[in-house]
Symmetry: none
Subunit: 164 residues, 2 copies
DNA sequence: AAAAATACCATGTTATCCCATAAATACCCA
DNA sequence: TGGGTATTTATGGGATAACATGGTATTTTT
């Protein structure tokens, strides 16, 4: 069964879930959580697709399905619009493919590190089809905001969806 | 036969019922009650889907039908909205899939244990399509409150119905 | 040649597997 | 129906595998 909104997602595909805190060593290496790696390796890719998150001080990351989704998004835009120029600069100009080494680690680029204000520890947060990489303190602040917003909207949700 | 109100529930599905108290050992393992396991294994899954309950100091848990319900909920949101970002952080980021080992046990994550204030014993409470995991004392307090509210509600009702 | 990236190896911790046991439950057959 | 046997279940422990992480050596880049 395919999603009507996400042509690249079906309900059988494994999703990025949960969060993991990992250290960055002196060489700048971080382990990708094994759980995430096993999802990424499903399409045979030894890379992760990354770009600075558009609306948060975090890094957006994922596998082939994420990069394909971004490509598709671009294709749907008017070729000569400002919107397309802006988005392709913001996403493709700044996106990177990081190689995952034999021990499951990557090296984050300076640009990504600076955007997310990362120092020596990061949190990997699963968001379904993609995941984010955060500086731990920034993430806990963001999470508090998110939970507050969700609670405010919970009445709406719980009426439509029993069980939440 | 599928329900039109709850597309992921059918009337033949077995429900999580009753409650069971189990111990957490030194390695952090807890047995999932056999009764619950037999329901979970019906869809072939060796995992339970868990997240911190939105409105209680407890863990919400269930099988494929619960996780699919959440995926569907996310799928209905506008892909690039703030609402979706917040919800996916709060739901996907805090959800976990716990592997059930060959003896029917799981290891609860630190985050879940902290949310539910669990130490060395838990109560599994069946809630139909899902179940909850509680620290025993907290659950009995919650039960008392719930029963009190039910009694108050009844008083109100009987006052309204005076004269009939 | 120097710096950076990559491969390879080592270690402590944690999760996972496998087996053992005791209690509870289900089963069977006289 | 009763009484004994087999199975299931929760729980503990030891052995093994996986994982994050640090370090060293080798290759590549510039």
């Amino acid at each position: 069964m395919l999603s009507h909104k996400y042509p690249f997602m079906d309900f059988n595909m494994q999703l990025f879930l949960s969060k993991y805190k990992n250290k960055i060593d002196q060489k700048g290496r971080v382990s990708i959580p094994a759980q995430f790696r096993s999802i990424l390796f499903q399409d045979g890719s030894q890379k992760i697709f990354c770009y600075p998150s558009l609306d948060a001080e975090a890094i957006d990351a994922g596998g082939d399905s994420l990069s394909r989704e971004i490509y598709a998004l671009m294709d749907n835009l008017d070729p000569y619009s400002d919107e397309k120029d802006f988005l392709s600069t913001a996403l493709f100009g700044l996106s990177e493919e990081l190689r995952i080494d034999s021990d499951g680690r990557v090296i984050l680029s300076d640009a990504l590190i600076q955007h997310a204000q990362i120092s020596d520890e990061v949190i990997f947060v699963g968001l379904g089809q993609k995941f984010q990489i955060w500086e731990p303190n920034r993430f806990s602040n963001y999470l508090q905001d998110a939970q507050k917003k969700v609670r405010e909207q919970r009445l709406l949700l719980s009426k439509k969806n029993k069980g939440f």
